[in-house]
């Protein structure tokens, strides 16, 4: 099925993309806040974010806020497109599977 993306389909990465794409473009989410929303560990989230960043689906920016290191994450334009195509492909599978 075209549009399906193996990298995004993994459950944690799917939820990461869902959380990030629901925000307006240009908005970034704090790493700790995202971890709390997803209910995953630091290491787990970090590993999944790296994979998504390597694919160019998300952008990770590290900065200092009041002298403390902070990590912010945002979906890229490419990430938004891929995620949209993935969800549309999932919907198409559901539609095809329904009895006529």
């Amino acid at each position: 099925m075209s549009g399906l993306n193996e990298l995004i389909h993994q459950s944690v990465r799917l939820r990461i993309m869902a959380a990030l794409t629901v925000l307006d473009p240009g908005k970034e989410v704090d790493f700790a806040y995202l971890r709390g929303l997803l209910e995953v560990t630091d290491g787990n989230l970090g590993a999944h974010l790296r994979k998504l960043e390597d694919a160019g689906y998300i952008a990770v920016s590290k900065t200092f806020v009041e002298r403390k290191p902070r990590t912010f994450v945002a979906a890229t334009v490419a990430g938004r497109h891929v995620f949209k195509a993935h969800t549309e492909a999932l919907k198409a599978i559901l539609k095809q599977g329904r009895p006529k």
Binding site: A18, D24, E28, V29, G36, T87, K91, G97
Partner: protein
């Protein structure tokens, strides 16, 4: 890549749940902290108004308002760290200016309407605070508008139906509604 209908359904459900969680969390933006904080402040402030003379009650309110203002600033600061975007700073500054302007208008109204007794003064402040909440609600989430209208109704009911016990009414029911709504948002909504 092959996905069964069942898998597709599960994935779409997970996406939908996550999107809702994020939307609610972003819209709520720590509202429950403000509701619980100001509910507690109202509780002690109105209890002070009920049991002490005007001057002592005034000092209690002054202390509580300073504490509330400082705590609100700290909460706001912590909330701003969750999601950021280029327009954040401007929006936050405008929100702060809005509350300051509303406070000044409230003081002007009280001054022009004066002299007013402590009950009327309290009602004016409650009404102005609720105008602020309604405005914030239209900006952030309609649920906040409903909360503000509910608190306004509770305050008006106490003011007109039990004028002799208005402060006690506000301490118990006014602040109780705020604290209750704060906990309702915290635990009913899936994330904060």
């Amino acid at each position: 890549m092959h996905i069964t209908t069942h898998e597709a359904q599960e994935s779409l459900a997970a996406i939908d749940a996550m999107m809702q969680k994020m939307r609610r969390s972003a819209a709520e933006g720590g509202t429950h902290y403000f509701l619980i904080l100001w509910g507690v402040i109202w509780f002690f402030g109105f209890l002070g108004s009920h049991f002490f003379s005007g001057k002592i009650a005034g000092y209690i309110w002054m202390g509580l308002d300073i504490l509330g203002g400082f705590s609100s600033w700290l909460i706001g600061k912590a909330m701003r760290r969750r999601v950021r975007h280029a327009g954040n700073k401007i929006t936050n500054r405008r929100v702060a200016l809005f509350w300051l302007t509303l406070f000044l208008y409230c003081m002007l109204t009280v001054w022009i309407a004066g002299p007013v007794d402590s009950k009327k003064l309290a009602m004016y402040i409650v009404l102005f605070a609720m105008i602020g909440w309604v405005a914030m609600g239209f900006l952030l989430s309609l649920s906040i508008v409903r909360l503000a209208l509910l608190i306004t109704l509770v305050a008006l009911a106490g003011y007109f139906l039990l004028p002799g016990y208005f402060f006690l009414w506000m301490a118990l029911l006014g602040s109780g509604t705020m604290i209750g709504c704060g906990f309702f948002i915290r635990f009913r909504w899936p994330s904060s």
